[in-house]
C-alpha cells in the first residue's frame, strides 16, 4: 500500500488564478495530510486568501485540479465545499451584525436542525473547546474576539474533515490562543486536518506540523516549522531579513502629556462594559501599553479617549487643559491622533478613496488653500508618502478604501495618523491582520514618533507586541485598569495573575 497517498487528505495541483494582470496564484501545489495542522504562510497579498477561497468554492481556478479524500474535488460554491467536509473561519468576519450569535450559527448550517438540538450541540462545543459565547447577544454588540468564537463554533458544528482557518488568533489573547491551540490539536488528533493561515510565526512553530510558504503568488517551499526558528521562517516568507523594533528610550518623567481619571462610565449597549476606577497617565516619549482580553472595555475606553463618548464622570487632562468635553475633531486639532480598531467604517470610509480618507482627518487644515479649495498636490504627496513608507499594497491614491485588504488598510490608517505628527497618539490594535514585516514597520514607526517626543497609548490584545515596545503596561479586566507597571519589571507569570481575573 502506498502510504503517502493513503495519508493525503487534500491535494491541489498547479492552481492558477489571475485577476486582470495580477497573477494571484501561480502554479500552486500543496498537499495536506490527514490529522495534520498545515500552515499556509505568506505576507499580505501573497495569494493565501485567493487559494483558500478556491478551496472553499468561493472562487474557481483558471486552471489546475484538486483532490479531496482521493476524489476529484471542484466545489462550485461554499455549499458544495461544506457538504464534502471543508469548513472555513474567515479573516474578515462573515457574520450578520443585526442577528444574534445563535441565528448566525443557524444560518451557516446547510441542513435544518432542531433549535433545541442545535442549542445543545453549540453549548457542548463551546464548553469542550472553551469557546464562551452569549448565544442571545447580537453580533453588533460583540467584540472582535467574541465574534471570532462565534465563527469558530459555526465552522466546527458541521464537523469538517478539513478546516481552513484564516488568521484565527489575530484578536485572541495568549490564554485564548492556548485554549484554541488545544482545540485545534484535539481536532487534529480526532482526524480533522487544519489549513492554518497566520502571520504569527511563533504560534506556527508551536502548533503546525508542516508549513507551506507563499511569496508573490507562488509556493516557495514546504518546511517543518518545528525544526526552524520563527525568524528563519519569517525571513523565508518575506524574502529578506527581519528586524525587531526597540522600545523608545526612557521617558521624560517631567512632561506629562495626558492623564485620565474615570470613576465610572456606563456602556451604551446592553452588552457593553462599564469602565471603573481607571487612572492612567502617559508622558512624553513614552509608550503605555494596555493589554487584556477582547471585550473587557478596550472599545469603551477608546471611545472615551477619542471623545466619541463624553461623560461627566471622566476627567482628561491634556498638557494642563481639561479636554473631556471636547469632541474628536477638537481633540485632533490640539494634537491628538487616533486609530480605532475597526478599520472600515470607523477608521476609514470605505466608499471614499485614499486621498479623501487622508483629507477627512486633517485637523491642521494642511491640505486646505484659501477659500476652501483643496490643495491636491500637497494631498497627493502626503498620501503617496504613506503608501510608500508603510508599504501599502494598492492600485494608487484613487483606490477606494474598501478595495484594500484589511492589513493594507490598517497600514494606511496608522500611516495617516502618524503622518499628522501628533503629540499624543492613541491606537487600538495597530497590527491586527498585518503580516510580520509590515507589523514590524508599524511598530517601528510608532517607536519613532515616541522617540521624537510623542506620547503613545497602545491598546492591543497582542501581548508580544505590548511587551516588545511599551515602556509601561496595564491590563483591562472587566472595565478595570490595573496600575501601570514598568515593562522591564513585569514577569510573565504576573501577567497571568493580573489577567487571570478575567476568566471568572
Amino acid at each position: 500500500m502506498n502510504n503517502k497517498i493513503e495519508n493525503t487528505l487534500f491535494q491541489c495541483r498547479a492552481i492558477n488564478k489571475e485577476f486582470g494582470n495580477v497573477r494571484a496564484n501561480n502554479d500552486i501545489s500543496i498537499n495536506v495530510r490527514s490529522s495534520q495542522i498545515h500552515a499556509l504562510l505568506g505576507e499580505n497579498g501573497a495569494g493565501k486568501s485567493t487559494l483558500v477561497k478556491i478551496i472553499y468554492g468561493l472562487l474557481q481556478p483558471d486552471s489546475g485540479s484538486m483532490t479531496f479524500l482521493n476524489e476529484e474535488y471542484s466545489p462550485k460554491s461554499p455549499k458544495d465545499a461544506r457538504a464534502l467536509g471543508v469548513g472555513m473561519v474567515f479573516q474578515h468576519f462573515s457574520l450578520f451584525e443585526p442577528l444574534t450569535a445563535f441565528e448566525n450559527i443557524l444560518v451557516g448550517l446547510d441542513k435544518e436542525l432542531g433549535e433545541k438540538e442545535l442549542h445543545a450541540s453549540v453549548i457542548m462545543l463551546s464548553e469542550s473547546y472553551g469557546l464562551e459565547v452569549n448565544l442571545s447577544s447580537f453580533i453588533g454588540d460583540l467584540s472582535a474576539g467574541e465574534r471570532q468564537r462565534v465563527e469558530i463554533i459555526r465552522a466546527l458544528i458541521q464537523k469538517p474533515k478539513l478546516l481552513i482557518m484564516d488568521e484565527p488568533t489575530s484578536v485572541l489573547t495568549p490564554f485564548e490562543c492556548e485554549s484554541l491551540f488545544k482545540t485545534l490539536k484535539k481536532l487534529a488528533s480526532e482526524g480533522t486536518s487544519i489549513l492554518y493561515i497566520s502571520h504569527k510565526l511563533k504560534e506556527i512553530a508551536d502548533l503546525c506540523d508542516t508549513a507551506s510558504v507563499l511569496r508573490k503568488g507562488a509556493i516557495v517551499g514546504e518546511y517543518d516549522p518545528k525544526k526552524m526558528t520563527p525568524r528563519e521562517l519569517g525571513e523565508i516568507m518575506v524574502g529578506q531579513s527581519l528586524f525587531e523594533p526597540k522600545r523608545p528610550v526612557a521617558a521624560n518623567k517631567s512632561n506629562k502629556v495626558l492623564s485620565v481619571k474615570i470613576n465610572e462610565v456606563k456602556p451604551d449597549t446592553q452588552f457593553g462594559v462599564t469602565l471603573k476606577n481607571i487612572d492612567l497617565a502617559v508622558y512624553q516619549s513614552e509608550i503605555l501599553g494596555i493589554g487584556g482580553v477582547a471585550g473587557n472595555g478596550q472599545e469603551e475606553l477608546m471611545q472615551v479617549l477619542t471623545g466619541e463618548k463624553k461623560d461627566r464622570n471622566v476627567s482628561i487632562k491634556y498638557m494642563d487643559n481639561d479636554i473631556e468635553m471636547l469632541n474628536p475633531r477638537e481633540r485632533r486639532e490640539i494634537g491628538l491622533a487616533f486609530a480605532p480598531e475597526e478599520r472600515l467604517g470607523h477608521a476609514a470610509v470605505g466608499n471614499l478613496n485614499l486621498l479623501e480618507n487622508s483629507l477627512i482627518t486633517d485637523p491642521k487644515k494642511r491640505f486646505q488653500m484659501k477659500m476652501g479649495f483643496i490643495d491636491f498636490s500637497e494631498l497627493n504627496e502626503y498620501t503617496n508618502e504613506i503608501i510608500e513608507k508603510f508599504n501599502v499594497k494598492t492600485t494608487g491614491v484613487s483606490a477606494l478604501a474598501s478595495s484594500l485588504s484589511g492589513g493594507n488598510l490598517q497600514k494606511f490608517v496608522v500611516g495617516r495618523e502618524i503622518g499628522q505628527k501628533p503629540s499624543l497618539f492613541i491606537v487600538n490594535q495597530p497590527t491586527w491582520g498585518v503580516d510580520a514585516l509590515s507589523a514590524a514597520n508599524i511598530r517601528q514607526a510608532i517607536v519613532d514618533i515616541a522617540n521624537t517626543g510623542a506620547a503613545i497609548i497602545l491598546i492591543s490584545q497582542d501581548l508580544d507586541e505590548i511587551l516588545e515596545i511599551s515602556n509601561k503596561v496595564a491590563f483591562l479586566t472587566n472595565g478595570n485598569l490595573s496600575i501601570p507597571t514598568n515593562t522591564m519589571d513585569i514577569k510573565t507569570d504576573e501577567i497571568g495573575a493580573i489577567m487571570g481575573g478575567i476568566s471568572d
Binding site: G57, L58, L59, R82, L95, E97, L99, V107
Partner: protein, 310 residues
C-alpha cells in the same frame, strides 16, 4: 350632525375591508425589503393587478379567477423590475419609480374599455357560530375569503421570518449580501423570489380594490395606496403584526372620514379626505424621532445593488 348614525360594528367591518389591499401589498413589500431590495413600484404593480383582475373577472365571470390573474399580473411586472435591478444592476429607486409610472400608464390603456362596468360578486363567508356573536361577529367574521387570507398571511409571514430557516436566510441576504454570498447563499435567486412574491401580493391587493372594495374600474383608482403600503412597512419597523395594526389605523381613518362626510360633519371635505395621508406622515415622523430610532428593523443592505466580488 348625529354621531349615533354611525354603526360601530359596521364601521369596523368596513375598515377591515378598506385596509385589506394595504395589508396585502405592504406584506409583499415587507418580504421584498427584508431581502434587501427597495421596490418603489408597489403602486404600479397594484394598479396592474387591479385592471387585470377586473378584466379577467368580468370576462370569466369569476372574481376568484380575476384575483389570481391580478396576482400573476403583479408578479409579471415585478419580474421586469427584478431583471432591471438584479441582472442589469440598475438603481433601485429610479427603477421602482419607473415601474410605478409604467404601471399607471399601461393600466389606463388596458382598462379604458372596461370603465363603468360592474364586476362579478365575491361571496361573503360567514364563519359558523362565531359570526352570530352580536357586534363582534359583524366586525370580524362575516368577510370574504381574501380578508381571511390576508390575516392568515400576517401570521404565516411572521412565522416564516422569525421561526423558519428559510426566513432567516432571507433576512441574512437583506442584512449583508456579501456575507450571505460568502456563505454560499444565492443572493440574486433569493431576491428574485422575494420580488416576485412582493409583486404577486401587490397584484392581489390591487385586484381586491377593483373587484371587492370599489368594485369597478376607474383610471388611477389605487390613489396612492401603493405609497401608503410602502410607508406602512417603515411604520411597522419591518414587523408583520405592527404592519397590520398600522394598516387598520390607516383604513380606520379613511372609513371614519367617509362616514363623517356622509353624516355631514361641519369640516371641509378636502381636509377630511386629507386625514389618512396626514396621519401617515405624522406616524412616520413620530416613529423616526422617538425611541424607535436605531431599531433593528431596517435591513442593512436595503436598496443596495449586489455586485459579486471575486
Amino acid at each position: 350632525m348625529d354621531l349615533s348614525e354611525i354603526n360601530f360594528a359596521v364601521l369596523v367591518a368596513s375598515l377591515i375591508v378598506a385596509s385589506t389591499p394595504l395589508v396585502l401589498a405592504a406584506l409583499g413589500e415587507l418580504i421584498v425589503e427584508k431581502s434587501g431590495v427597495l421596490n418603489l413600484g408597489v403602486e404600479g404593480m397594484m394598479i396592474i393587478g387591479a385592471v387585470t383582475g377586473f378584466i379577467v373577472g368580468v370576462e370569466t365571470g369569476s372574481a376568484y379567477i380575476g384575483m389570481m390573474a391580478a396576482a400573476m399580473a403583479g408578479a409579471l411586472l415585478s419580474l421586469l423590475f427584478a431583471f432591471i435591478i438584479l441582472i442589469m444592476q440598475a438603481n433601485q429607486v429610479a427603477s421602482g419609480l419607473a415601474l410605478t409610472i409604467f404601471g399607471l400608464g399601461i393600466a389606463a390603456l388596458m382598462g379604458h374599455p372596461y370603465t363603468g362596468i360592474k364586476s362579478p360578486q365575491i361571496s361573503t363567508i360567514s364563519i359558523p357560530f362565531i359570526s352570530e356573536i352580536p357586534v363582534l361577529g359583524t366586525m370580524f367574521f362575516q368577510h370574504d375569503l381574501i380578508v381571511y387570507l390576508s390575516l392568515i398571511s400576517v401570521l404565516v409571514i411572521w412565522y416564516f421570518l422569525n421561526r423558519m430557516r428559510a426566513g432567516l436566510i432571507l433576512r441574512s441576504v437583506g442584512e449583508d449580501h456579501d456575507v450571505a454570498h460568502s456563505l454560499g447563499y444565492r443572493v440574486v435567486t433569493i431576491r428574485f423570489l422575494a420580488i416576485t412574491f412582493g409583486g404577486a401580493m401587490a397584484g392581489v391587493g390591487g385586484g381586491y380594490l377593483s373587484l371587492v372594495r370599489v368594485p369597478q374600474w376607474t383610471e388611477g383608482m389605487t390613489a396612492g395606496a401603493g405609497w401608503i403600503a410602502l410607508a406602512l412597512v417603515v411604520f411597522s419597523g419591518w414587523r408583520p403584526f405592527r404592519l397590520l395594526i398600522g394598516a387598520y389605523i390607516f383604513g380606520g381613518i379613511t372609513i371614519l372620514q367617509l362616514n363623517l362626510q356622509a353624516i355631514g360633519v361641519n369640516i371641509n371635505i378636502a381636509l377630511l379626505s386629507m386625514a389618512p395621508y396626514l396621519a401617515t406622515i405624522l406616524a412616520l415622523v413620530v416613529i423616526s424621532m422617538s425611541r424607535f430610532r436605531g431599531n433593528r428593523g431596517a435591513p442593512g443592505c436595503l436598496g443596495r445593488s449586489f455586485v459579486k466580488i471575486t
